[in-house]
Symmetry: C2
Subunit: 354 residues, 2 copies
Amino acid sequence: MSEMIKKPTLHDVSRAVGLSVYTVSRALSNRDGVSAASRERVLQAARELGYVPNRAAQELRRNTRSSVAVITASTSNYYYLDLMTGIQRTLRLSDRTAIVADVAAEGVYTRAVEESLVNDLIQSRTAGVIATLTLSPQSIQLFEKWEIPVVFVDSAPPKGADRVPSITTDNIGASMKVGAHLGDHGYTDWLFLAYPARWSTRAQRERGLREAAAAYGATLEVLESENDTASAYAALSGYLAVPGRSLPRVIIAGNNPMVHGALRVLRDRGVTVPSEAAIVAFDEFPWAPLLDPPLTVLNEDSETIGVLAAQTLARIIDEQVEAERLGKPPTPVYRPEYRQEMPAELIIRKSCGC
Amino acid sequence: MSEMIKKPTLHDVSRAVGLSVYTVSRALSNRDGVSAASRERVLQAARELGYVPNRAAQELRRNTRSSVAVITASTSNYYYLDLMTGIQRTLRLSDRTAIVADVAAEGVYTRAVEESLVNDLIQSRTAGVIATLTLSPQSIQLFEKWEIPVVFVDSAPPKGADRVPSITTDNIGASMKVGAHLGDHGYTDWLFLAYPARWSTRAQRERGLREAAAAYGATLEVLESENDTASAYAALSGYLAVPGRSLPRVIIAGNNPMVHGALRVLRDRGVTVPSEAAIVAFDEFPWAPLLDPPLTVLNEDSETIGVLAAQTLARIIDEQVEAERLGKPPTPVYRPEYRQEMPAELIIRKSCGC
DNA sequence: ATGATCCACCTAATCGTTTAGGAGGATGAT
DNA sequence: ATCATCCTCCTAAACGATTAGGTGGATCAT
């Protein structure tokens, strides 16, 4: 029975209906040049045979690709899930799919992993890249050479790639909001538990806090940790274990893994929040209101950021495809208006002392 | 300068060194039949030109593919992150990559989405599939026709596909453990807040609870909700809002989104946990110990399950490739020992009343 | 000198699509 | 009757890699 042919190709369909592969191809992709009758026969045969086009062959021939890569580190950060939701929802509209590529899958980030990942993306001729952390200038150069457009989210392009678009939160303004709230509480002894500066938001968040601290006459100490819960735990307990060191009045956790580590340290040391030490964190997450005490948090609108990033990337890719169709060099064109900055809001709950 | 050629192909490298594409190909893929001197020249030229092989062309010609798809629904469930960690770590060893495909990306699961996803995976000629929920028999048939091996994790194959491997938790045993603990507390009025039976663990967990309830003379009510936090919230508040209905003594949440919804309902109604109502949940997650009160939870070892699933799939794919090399039909071979069941442990914290 | 063997390399076919450049026949205008 | 115009369909050449099946020459045993 014809339906049992395994892995039928265009050719098999062509033979089955007695029309050339040309006609079959046009019929299946719904372009004209095929009579209604033939089209019907082709579709019928394709259905019966269970024909499914071979994407590798299509992409090779058409020189197009359908998937966009999201480069990320530490998928355990919750904001990343919202971000992906926004990205996926938007890309689906233009029939593209997003794949995630983790540069810190084995735990820590290394240059070697970044390089091999970038190589991998070029091998698969990705349509475009959304990066959640600043990539190396070399990576950007490579993507440029292969005409793969890049958009940064919540992170800045590296030096020398200032034209590359980025969708970010107004992190300086946001952290000043955080600082102002702490200042209003009358706290003067702040500790910022921060992830590494490789994530460019780190510098901005620190800067906003510094300005706020200066305005309120508070002292700001910065404690750096790798970007995961275990490291945050280790960093903070190491810090507090130094003899003679007193507990800061408030801890500002740079993101999700940081606040997780910090809360564990405080719990293990029996510190009462917020009466002995208050705590505030960047990045809202679903469990924040259910913690003990409910966590005061700075909420970035990650989903919207994801939507904007995906829209921007999709537009650049479309322009690129169009340029190629017209025979122009298809190098991606970045316009200044592709840079966008979103506001963030402070969600006040209990952990700050309110 | 030659380095500025955009998108060099094997042909460009071949021209640059004055050797045929055959020789260049062999040199780059490190097979023999090339003198050391030529190989060096080829590698040198490839480096200078910035040559990166085109994966679509390779896969088309070699008829191999390097990526494995993980079919999932509701990525907000935390166990999924651990699962992915295990899968990624294992696949990396055999130089394969995992991509995730969400059948419920738009929120709810529909048959149509499953069908189009399966079609998509066949188009890209995925090397193999790891499914975290029971797929339709049609999907299984399709994968079979295209000789794409499938492994289920934490879920059973559909009817008629009993030979397909699955790595699961001993859910019946696990839920009996849960039930026994509740029985020992002396609770007799249990409510199971459950996700739909499309996830095959649902039935097993329910069955174990039922047996335990019978053994302890408790009553078990089952309340079903869609598999997300908002639905769980709606389902439970609707249930409790029925006039004359009394609060159950203990709520057993079927998974992560369920417990999240339930805790929000209890908080909004001012119910004290565990004195007024106790709560226990399936699936450990990082925030569980930090909630108010710390959550008693049944811990599946998702990472190990991920590792086992990936190993099993990798082995099947390898056997398949080997069979093809020998000219045999490359249909995947499933052995009975590919079915594995893992134990789970109860992590007792405070929310159960301990 | 002859033949066998090996090595380094090449030519050309192939994977499954898309598509430029026709070809043949029907239709309609003149 | 002639020619232009449409349709519908075809042939054959790509896309960028891999590889079966040679080729020509060096080396070596006899």
